[in-house]
């Protein structure tokens, strides 16, 4: 569920960006739907806004063309950590891609889900408790995902991508966090965004969870 006060603050910020003709922040909305036996049993939209240090550093490196080569992590370092906690980098020619695109059963890039409820911290580089892909206890089967639409309306570009997770585990699974693992050149993976869900999502056995990321860039400052 969207927070009315936060939405108002964001509108105010976007208006200020328009006035000054500067890039507004990218908006992310996370749609969560659970279908069970052909029926929609859960339907919610939440705002995703928990960009990690990996994302901040990658964006700065992109616009400035500096390399992500520091071997410490935190304030004062331009570095990125992969989900295993190791420093990985791509010197120069930074290519950020694959926030949404992922192959079947792939849990290293694209939209991922977990059961962790620990509060968001900007230094996080992996989901708190990633749900693995599979059909055994505690696992969800990750389907392939890709961008499904790129549309322009009301001076905003909206890019949508979904991923379907099937629960063939024999028991219910509670999804409490979602994330975006980015693929750099398809070989280096970084957590760019993690959202602890305001309302956790229970996926009953044999049910299907659809997570839809909607990424919106407001162009009204220039269009």
């Amino acid at each position: 569920m969207l927070d009315v006060i936060e939405e108002a603050k964001r509108e105010e910020l976007k208006a200020k960006c328009r006035e000054m003709k500067v890039l507004p922040p990218t908006d992310i909305f996370i749609g969560l739907q659970v279908h069970d036996k052909g029926k929609l049993i859960f339907d919610d939209v939440q705002r995703g806004h928990s960009w990690t240090r990996n994302y901040w550093n990658a964006i700065f490196a992109y616009v400035s063309n500096c390399s992500i080569v520091d071997s410490s992590f935190g304030a004062g370092y331009i570095s990125c950590k992969n989900p295993a906690g190791a420093f990985t980098y791509q010197a120069n020619t930074l290519l950020i891609q694959g926030l949404i695109m992922a192959g079947s059963a792939n849990i290293t890039n694209g939209i991922v889900v977990g059961t962790g409820t620990s509060a968001f911290d900007v230094e996080q580089y992996a989901l708190d408790a990633l749900i693995g892909s599979g059909n055994s206890a505690g696992k969800l089967y990750y389907n392939a995902s890709a961008v499904s639409s790129t549309t322009y309306a009301a001076k905003a570009w909206t890019i949508v991508g979904s991923r379907i997770f099937n629960n063939n585990s024999g028991g219910s699974i509670v999804v409490a966090e979602t994330g975006l693992y980015s693929a750099q050149g398809w070989s280096i993976y970084w957590l760019f965004e993690r959202s602890v869900l305001g309302a956790a999502v229970t996926v009953p056995d044999a049910a299907q969870l659809t997570v839809t990321y909607t990424i919106v860039d407001d162009f009204s400052a220039i269009d």
């Binding site: 936060e6 603050k9 964001r10 105010e12 910020l13 200020k16 960006c17 000054m20 003709k21 500067v22 890039l23 922040p25 990218t26 806004h49 960009w51 240090r53 994302y55 901040w56 964006i59 700065f60 490196a61 992109y62 616009v63 400035s64 063309n65 500096c66 390399s67 304030a75 004062g76 331009i78 120069n92 020619t93 930074l94 290519l95 950020i96 891609q97 694959g98 926030l99 949404i100 695109m101 900007v122 890709a146 961008v147 790129t150 322009y152 001076k155 570009w157 890019i159 991508g161 975006l180 980015s182 760019f192 990424i215 860039d217 162009f219 220039i222 269009d223």
Partner: protein
């Protein structure tokens, strides 16, 4: 010269981003120094804030793998135009705002003589000053990423380019831009200068781009 009113507005804007813990927009400052006979005869700092549509579109596509359409350019088109005016899918792999500029004018920091007002759909400088020693030309030195620094919770990346005037006449620089090299060449920022910069014959112009990003909402 920096405008105190504009700077105050930017500070206010950054405060709003901090409040929401969001990455603020990257800022650009451009320093100009002219040396002649070993003496500094001009020294100025201006804010660069004229990102082009090429930059906006790339920023929008970052990370999503959405496709460029390349069927038109302007509002409602997710496309890119290179400095030749052709659509070019190379934008999907744009290298960065400050690119290594070899000798010449196809990439990196470039300057021109046009004072045509900035327009978001521009894809080339208004009147690029060519590389050379002929009339109206400057000799562009190679440039590279210079340094990055962290202070007061702000990251600043710096890149520099030197241009020598061996043209036998004065040259007035009125615009500056960044040509990104990503297979094709793309104008991603253009600033019309105020004041303009006169480079006398035999003088040397040093342009320093500083791109900074305020990390204070997370650091």
């Amino acid at each position: 010269m920096l405008d105190p009113k504009e700077e105050a507005k930017f500070d206010e804007l950054k405060g709003m981003f901090r409040d929401l813990k969001l990455p603020p927009p990257p800022e650009i400052f451009i320093n100009f120094q002219v040396h002649k006979d070993g003496k500094l005869i001009f020294d100025d700092k201006q804010r660069g804030h004229s990102w082009t549509r090429n930059f906006y579109n790339y920023k929008c596509l970052v990370g999503t793998n959405a496709a460029l359409t390349n069927t038109g350019f302007g509002a409602g088109h997710m496309s890119s135009k290179n400095t030749s005016g052709s659509y070019d899918a190379g934008l999907s792999a744009i290298a960065g705002a400050i690119t290594t500029g070899g000798i010449g004018v196809t990439r990196g920091i470039v300057v021109g003589t046009s004072d045509t007002a900035f327009n978001i759909d521009q894809y080339v400088l208004g009147a690029l000053i060519n590389h050379g020693t002929g009339a109206g030309q400057l000799t562009y030195q190679a440039s590279a990423f210079d340094s990055k620094a962290y202070a007061l919770k702000v990251w600043t990346a710096t890149s520099k380019r030197i241009m020598n005037n061996n043209s036998c006449g004065d040259i007035t620089v009125k615009e500056i831009g960044l040509y990104s090299d990503s297979g094709g060449f793309f104008l991603i920022e253009r600033s019309v200068l105020s004041p303009t910069v006169t480079v006398p014959d035999g003088a040397q112009l040093t342009v320093t781009y500083e791109i900074s990003m305020d990390f204070s909402s997370i650091d």
